[in-house]
Structures are given as C-alpha cells and as structure tokens.
C-alpha cells in the first residue's frame, strides 16, 4: 500500500502537533478544555466558542528535558488571539520563569488578534509579548514552530520574531499584514493575493529561511519539526547581551540594504547567488538546505 509515510504538520490539529513534538505520553495539559475557559466576548456576540479558546498549553519533556508547550488551533477563528487565548499563552511564559524549563516551544498558527474581541484581544497579545520577552530575559529560550494553514501574521507575526529561533516548513508563512489586506489597501499591482505562488515566495518558509528570519527549514512532517526542536534544545542558550543585540541590528541593517529592491523571493534568491531561482519552490527541504549551506551565515544561524 503506497500510503503516505509522513504525518503532515499542516493537517494536524494542535494536540496532534504537540503529541508528535514532545516525548511520547509526556504532555500534561494545563487550563484544558474540561475547565471550559471559553471566550466571554464571543458569547456576547452569540458566536460559537471553543472549550480551550483555540489554544493548547501544558508541560512535557523533550529528550527527557522539561519543556513548556503551546499550540494554537488554526481552524478555530483563524487561530486568532482573544482574551482567554492570550492569557493562557501569557500564563505559559510566566510559568516558565517559575519552573525554568529547558525551553518554551510555541506552535504558531494564527492570523493575529481576534478582531471580535477588539481591545481585549490587543491587550492580550501585548501582554503575551511582554511575558515572552521577560522569560527570554530571564534566560529561558523560546522557540517558535510555524507550518499551519494560518501561518504567523499580525501580532503573532511579531511574536514569532520575538522568539530565539524559528522552525518553519515551506507551507508555513510569516508576515505582518496579510496578503489580502495588502492588496485591498495598496492594489493588486502591488501585491496579487490570489497569486498563491507569489504569496509563498514573499512570506513562505523558504523565503524566510533565506532571509534568516527562520533558523531551520523542514518538510511538512511532524517528525521533522520534532527533530528540529531537539536540535535547538541541544544547543547552548542564546546570548542576550548588548553585544548580541548590536550584532542582530547590524545584520538586519545589512540585509535591508542588500535586498532593498526585492519585490519577490526570486529577487532575493538571485541576489544570494542561488542557481535557478524559479526551481526553488519545488525543492524539498533537504535539497534546499544543501543549496543554502555554502552561503555566508545569515544572522539567525
């Protein structure tokens, strides 16, 4: 039977992603659905709620080491962050400062703030950002994993880049304003959101890896995400001093200058000197990473 051997991260829901990411049977959910912490705002609007408000948080181990894990449910309201959802993630980071795990793993699958919840959603995502930065400042590494249908946009795009490192699959996307929003505001000549291949060349995992926003590019396979997380966990805690920040800033300024005129991933790949840019979207992760390897190290490597 030629059944597919991979377990797709893209297709999996939040709990299936966590189950495949951490050590078998090690996950213990906190603030789980049985506590029914549902959104009061959606209820007021007479909209369906979810018992976990679209995010799963808890503790587990990875290679035997304690980790805290959060995974957003992209299918519920586009993974958008509401008051409860944001509070669960903020609580996860505050817990990290108390229990001091080896890392916090954040499986991001979200378009950003849940607009239904207006200010409550904005505040929630801001608090989550603060709590994440506080955990990092306290020496807890935070690693993001992006490979779902919503990608990481809006406020969650910012959250993604606040992480110490990002693992992305090619199906994953990372950005700020969503493609449809850009097209609506700036016109289709600026960005044709229906040209999906273009959208992925501008916000997708391969492009993000090429620019250094993502540290690791993996295939759409839960086991590949797991291996990438394990590798990140095995390396020393990233430096957070002023020197490290200055180095990051310098690299970003260089990058901005180098790709100032790029309008498409193809331009970036050409500028990097990669052979046959138009063929890049069809490469699997291993071939793409081999292509990238000889280049000068990007800032997140």
């Amino acid at each position: 039977m030629s059944r597919l051997q991979r377990h797709s991260w893209f297709e999996a829901d939040a709990r299936a992603r966590i189950a495949g990411l951490v050590d078998a049977d090690s996950f213990r959910e906190l603030c789980g659905p049985h506590e029914r912490l549902t959104s009061p705002h959606l209820a007021v609007l007479d909209l369906p709620v979810a018992f976990d408000d679209g995010v799963v948080v808890g503790e587990a181990t990875l290679d035997g080491r304690p980790v805290l894990v959060g995974a957003q449910q992209g299918e519920f309201n586009g993974g958008a962050v509401g008051e409860i959802h944001g509070a669960k993630l903020r609580g996860l980071f505050e817990r990290a400062r108390r229990t001091r795990p080896a890392a916090v793993l954040l499986a991001i699958d979200s378009g950003g703030v849940r607009l239904h919840e207006a200010n409550a959603g904005l505040i929630a995502i801001s608090e989550l950002m603060r709590a994440l930065l506080a955990a990092r400042a306290d020496g807890i590494p935070v690693y993001g994993l992006i490979g779902g249908s919503c990608g990481a946009f809006g406020g969650m795009g910012i959250v993604a880049r606040l992480c110490d490192a990002l693992v992305m699959s090619e199906e994953g996307r990372l950005g700020l304003s969503g493609p449809e929003v850009i097209e609506t505001v700036k016109g289709v000549d600026e960005f044709d959101s229906k040209d999906r291949a273009l959208v992925w060349r501008v916000t997708g995992g391969k492009l993000r890896r090429s620019l250094g926003d993502a540290t690791t590019l993996v295939d759409d396979d839960i086991a590949a995400f797991r291996d990438a997380a394990r590798s990140l966990l095995a390396r020393p805690v990233p430096a957070r001093d002023l020197a490290a920040l200055d180095a990051d800033q310098f690299a970003l300024a260089q990058r901005a200058a180098r790709h100032a005129d790029a309008r498409d991933g193809l331009d970036v790949w050409r500028a990097l000197g990669l052979p046959d840019p138009t063929a890049i979207p069809m490469l699997d992760a291993a071939d793409f990473n081999r292509l990238l390897a000889p280049l000068s190290p990007t800032e997140a490597a």
Binding site: E171, K194, A197, G204
Partner: protein, 547 residues
Amino acid sequence: MGAPWNQRAARRARRLERLAPLTRGRQIAAADIIAALEAAIEPGDRVCLEGNNQKQADFLAGSLADCSPERLHDLHMVQSVLALPAHIDVFERGIANRLDFSFSGPQANRLARLVEERRIAIGAIHTYLELFGRYFVDLTPDVCLIAAQAADADGNLYLGPNTEDTPAIVEATAFRHGIVIAQVNEKLDRLPRVDIPADWTDAFVVAPRPNYIEPLFTRDPAQITEIQVLMAMMAIKGIYAEYGVQRLNHGIGFDTAAIELLLPTYAESLGLRGKICSHWALNPHPTLIPAIEAGFVESVHSFGSEVGMENYVAARSDVFFTGHDGSMRSNRAFCQTAGLYACDMFIGSTLQIDLAGNSSTATLGRIAGFGGAPNMGSDARGRRHASPAWLRAGRERAGDAIATRGQKLVVQTVETFREHMAPAFVERLDAWQLMEDMGMELPPIMIHGDDVTHIVTEEGIANLLLCRSAAEREQAIRGVAGYTPVGRARDARMVENLRDRGVIRRPEDIGIDKRDATRDLLAARSIKDLVRASGGLYDPPRRFRNW
C-alpha cells in the same frame, strides 16, 4: 433563371466577398475584428460561439458583443456553454435573442433574469452530444466562431491538447456552406500537427491574449473530508469491486476525486489493481495521477485537456491519447460517445434526489443546464456488446424474469445534507418550481430515476436494480437518506427487510470499518503531493498552489 439549389453556396460567396477587404490572405487583423464579424454575419443568422466547458473563444465573444445591434440583430446563438459575461452581453445588447445550449453554470443567474424579463427565447437545454447531433440536423450554424491554438498562413489550424467541441462544430458549419472564423494564440510557419485543414476554414485572427481556459477538473485533495473518504470506500468495495467495473467515467467533484485517490491505497489493499478502473472516459484529472503511477490505468480518453496537465499527459503517452507531435488529443463528441456506449459505469454527485431517484442540480433563480451528465448518466439502450458488469446489472434488474439486455451502472453519490443543512433528499425537486417560474415544458431533471442504479450516501448504498416496486424504491431511497426529513419518514420495518435482502447495504455490511475512513487513506493529500507523484510534470495553476 438561376438554379435554385445552391442558395447556401451563393450566400456564402457574398459573405466572403464582404469579408475579403478585411483579410490579408486568411488573416484578419485584430483591430478589424468587429468589422469582419459584421461583414461575415447576417441578421437572423444561427451563430455557434465556442463557449466550451473549458476553453473560450473569448476575444471573438467580446468582439461579437461589441458589434453594432443595427448591423447584427436577431441572432440565434447555439453554443455548448455560456461561461463568460460577454455570452450574456450579446443578448442584453440586442444582438441575439434566441439560444440553444447545454450548460451555463457561471451565467445561470443572469440567464434566468433574461428569461424572466422576456429578453431571450430559449429553444432548449441539451446535453452535449444531443446539441452536436442537432448541428447536423436542425441547428446547423451559419457562422462559427472558434478557438484554436495556432494557424498557419494557409488557414490550417492546430487545436493542441484542448480540442473539446471544435471538430464537431467546424464539420457541421463548413459542409453546409457556413463561415468558419477562428481566434488563435499564434500564427506559425509550420503547425505541430494539422487538426482542422484549411479547406474547412475561412479566416483567423491572432487574439491579443491567449484564449481563456477554465481549470474545471482540478480538485484540491486538501478539501476532501472524512465523510467523502468513507463514501469512496463504499463505492470501491460495494460497487466497483462487486461488479468488476473496468471502464468508467467520473463526473467531476470531490466525491469522485476521493475515489481516484483511494485507488492506489484502499483499492490496492483489496487486490483490485487490474480488476477495476483500467479504461477511462475522463478529462486528465490531476487526482488520477497517483492511480496512473501505481499502474491501475491502461487508457484515458478525454473531452478536453486540463490546465497544468499538458506535460504530464505528453509524458504518459501509453495512457493518454496523444498525437505524433507529442501533445494530447481530446474530443468531446467522441468522449461523450465513449461514455455512453463503451463504459460500464458513470458515477457523479448531485444536489437533489427525490423518491423516484430523479436527480437534479437545478436550483431556483438559475437556469444552468447539465452539460454532459444526462448523457453519461443514462443507460445506453442501443448497446449490444456484453461485459460482466453490464450483464450482472441487467440480470439484477430483470429479477426472476429472463434478462434480454444488460444495463449500464449509473451511480449517484451524495451526502445526505449539503451546506447550511440543506437536505439532498427531497419529496419534490426544486426543478418543478423552476419549470413553473421559467415557463419550461418539462422539469429540468439531470438524471432520471429509472436510469439510476445505485445511490451512495454516508449511510450506505441503495441498489435500485433490486427494487421490485415503486414502494420498495421509495423506501430504499429513504433508507439511505439519513436524518433528512425524507430519511426520518422511512418505514423502519421495510428498510430492515430491504437491508436483509441486500437492497440496502450499510458500511458494516460491506465490510468497512468507519474508523478507517480518514484522510490518511488518500494517496495524495495536497496539490503538492500530486505534483510530487507526477515527478514534477504536473504544473498546477496559481490558484491551487500553497508553496
């Protein structure tokens, strides 16, 4: 006194005379197209515009709509499909006022409004093969406006992979002294192959943009649901394997896409490779790629091509019909004929089924027609050659009597509820209301109940061949209609009896564990998987990519 028997030839000569100043050899300049159409067409003409299911002579359509209604009016349009806004514009602008067609999905609402406003007279809705047949009897075009890939200076035409209706249209028009005008994507010194000889054409224009082709037959595996996987398993084990279906057509849809993607996995695990699905009348569905690669498929003949599949088809010339130049050859008329006479099964989805098994996709406020479905979904009484599936169906239908003929399997597969909890099973089809609203002579029924042999829902399979009365047929249908009002009104005892007799079979009766019905069973779960399965030969249109 002039001979009265060459009027048509004489009229043709006058049209060509008026057209001559606007052509250089056979070529019309794009800037002159409106003048050329106004010269070649006469008021009251019967005009065939190539609005096919997939490819569109869009430049000619838009130009025709821009002609002056003073010069061109009272045209009678005969065309397969009204797909483009321009196809309706010709009516709204008073250029045409009569229509015979087959399908109008994209323009169904506008067409209904034109009928309500009495600005159009519809001759009839046809199935494709029926319309082609009438091109040779009483609907012969005076002028046809077609789409081809390329022309040479002499006026020979190359149709490329997407042939569809063109040969039928051109033959009827050319040999009754009509005018054949083609829009082409390019003019070449030498064509890869000659599909329409110059002797059959009159003029061509190189269009400013390549003719539009709709990717109608591409289905993203990412959207296939667990319920559709379950129904696909039932169809494969409960019908394809049971009857040994080797020659078939799939109506396009996610239900049949799920079946195609289960062949290399589920059907393979049942040992069915080589025993089912060897020969297809089918467009090159991307979702068939894994089954082809797994060795299930011996041959595929197609109505047209499918955007992005050209290189894959060319590279699989053992399976597909391809020319000496290497590119695909398709033909709607012959493929519809194959589906009628040379296939043992049609399976497709629908929107509504009533208690007699009549099936329709007609909905209120829309005049859409059914395209090829009435043909594919009909028993072919003229058939004489036997096959195991055909004979068995005929015997089941005959029951205790001696069978004098076989029967083609016509399967309708549908979930009991559609979006917004609209039931698929109804006491009375919307088609009856539409008939009243639009002043039609008959209710627009897609497939007649007496042609339907099986109905597959998530609740099971109803075999209508084994029903001995209208009452049994009604209960067999109610028995698979789930929790719809029609289903809940079932006679529970009769349904149990039908189940005992095997007229109704539940998944467990077929030996299917519903827990196995997951998306993991699909041989490809995304468009990207299909591209990989094709070895990179399949090049999906932009709208289907997510990488």
